[in-house]
Subunit: 413 residues, 2 copies
Amino acid sequence: MSNQVKAEILSVGTELLLGQIANTNAKWLSARLAQMGVHMYYHGVVGDNEIRLREQFFQAKQRSDLVIVTGGLGPTDDDLTREVASEVIGASILEDEEALKRIQAVFAHRPMTPNNRKQARILQGSTILPNDVGLAPGFVLTKEGTTWIFLPGVPREMKAIMEQHGFDYIQSRFAISSTIYSKMLKFVGIGESQLEHDVHELIQKQTNPTIAPLASEGEVALRLTAKAFSEQEAKALISESERMIMQRVGSFCYGADGDTIEHKVFQLLQASGEQIAAAESLTGGQFMNQLISIPGASAICSGGIVCYTASVKEHVLNVPKLLIEQYGTVSEACAIELAVQVARKLHSSIGISFTGVAGPSELEGQSVGTVYIGIYHAGKQPYAKKFHFHGDREAVRQRSVKKGFELLYHYLK
Amino acid sequence: MSNQVKAEILSVGTELLLGQIANTNAKWLSARLAQMGVHMYYHGVVGDNEIRLREQFFQAKQRSDLVIVTGGLGPTDDDLTREVASEVIGASILEDEEALKRIQAVFAHRPMTPNNRKQARILQGSTILPNDVGLAPGFVLTKEGTTWIFLPGVPREMKAIMEQHGFDYIQSRFAISSTIYSKMLKFVGIGESQLEHDVHELIQKQTNPTIAPLASEGEVALRLTAKAFSEQEAKALISESERMIMQRVGSFCYGADGDTIEHKVFQLLQASGEQIAAAESLTGGQFMNQLISIPGASAICSGGIVCYTASVKEHVLNVPKLLIEQYGTVSEACAIELAVQVARKLHSSIGISFTGVAGPSELEGQSVGTVYIGIYHAGKQPYAKKFHFHGDREAVRQRSVKKGFELLYHYLK
């Protein structure tokens, strides 16, 4: 393992202290540095105030090997990071010729206000970390045993600088040889408590990798995090744990890391050569929207019909008036008919339908959260399932869509 | 004005330092406290580590009037906030009878593990801030001039405790008489730089309220923030600035604060008694989805058709094959036809259509980002407008939807 690198992040900006934005920079940097095996000990936020900034810089200098400072490098007068850092670290400020040239190039075809020149100023002895997407570059210097990395506060610029230059610099500066690798396993159709119960023994016993359950809207996941000398070794450790998890709950696992359930459904449809159409009442187009957000969706989905009112169900999707009168629109019969009709109308081999009560008021005597999802597949018996989702209007609509993808996933698999 | 209250937030939890979650608690608390006129000087994050926690508590004690601590009050062994705070503040820990009763009531029908009892433990001399949505209550105590508020780290519980008890406590404890009030004015159809240019003089001159421009996907806003002794006075200050802003850019302003452009369109449709239907190609149902997310949407939108492929445009929406062959689906002619047909098919007085190239590849020889939006209104000449949106597939789709609402807003107004 590497020598333990003690790190902290210091974010500068009054907008953070006023609660106008969350400190997503600290989150992003921390997640990436954790993967590298850097030990993050503190996050701090301070405003554009000279006295408090100085105090925080002094403290960081005393306690950390690596201090990452975000923000306060901009062109205006309240950007103080450079000046205060110069004083605390004991390095004078100079104008970097390369950085200035880059800034001047950006303003080649429009007037450059003098204050933009300020953004080419760095601390003497530092190495530039070029900013390929904005004006102010990052820079890094080591003095009295502390390595300081200064970065602009704009997340897009901060991330680009770190991705392209910063993380490599840290890796070589601290001769980091260990690595932390993590994998997220994703599940549908199993509740958080059931999942935890089924793998409880593994969670308790395992220390490398650690296994942590995570829950979000309608989905659960297990995060496996391994430490090792090499990525290969870490992956092998994870692989072994994954195997044991799969023995217990594998049938509910649909993917890992960046996978989404809609993307899985897209792939299954693609592989089977099927086309799907949707009839959406309470979900209002959200199911189709999520499918169509995937590039290449036209191969598996030609479209669908948003049938929010009974009239559209009847006149556009040909649901018999008698059926609606007898069973209502929020019914198994109506869900089945919608799924069949939308597939027929759009010449698709699969039809899915959503009809239910999103709220805030009940409908046709049915309570908020009652939802029917219908599925038709050419040549098979169409069917519908009834669900009851908790939460407000948005939650009920989102959970309906998620459940629709879950049903399709299990059906197509 | 009130005496200046110097505050800081200390968030406890290794998950923050590992970058697993962002510190949204600090953001939320800060925004609310700023409105009350509390001066936030620092945010700090520290892990579940006794030594560093003690060090942070000591520092906070020395420099702040109000310290809000979130996290570390849970049932497990790594929740150390209580123990370390007890030592630093000099207040012993005791079990609160009321809090214990509440916890026992939650476990009335299921076994309560002994560690849950820990969550009833508070510092001697503190006042309980009841937790109506979870187990661990918050508590507050003042010692040696510093007021400490301890809160659970789960955002939902933390917010509920503060909303119901915490902010009132702070207000009365510090006899806060000044107030900060802010209003967000929202604009469409004007770019950020143009908006800034048009109100530049006001932004420069004004100090109370301050005026800050903000930009997000396809929209711009101005945030007006006033300080005063009373809400009434603050509102009067804002009102005067708002009047001056409206003189310059009022025609682009569609609302304030929680208003959204889709909600404005909903209200305009409601007021005019019109019904809208949408034919969505590249936007895949997202326009309808946003309308239908508003309760009561059935009065103004009966549904629509997602016509992602040429075949659906032709066979479901009756766009003549010849038209598609001659002009393509990404054309003014097709957009107009789609708007007319969807309104007719769904018996609606207004039809809107979206057809274009979301990417990643070009289509029919047209570049990514080319989008036509068609509008039909019964008895009027239908028309379509061509746009070119920048960004990736998701950005193009989102901007198309936003632009559709913007066109409707200006049309209906």
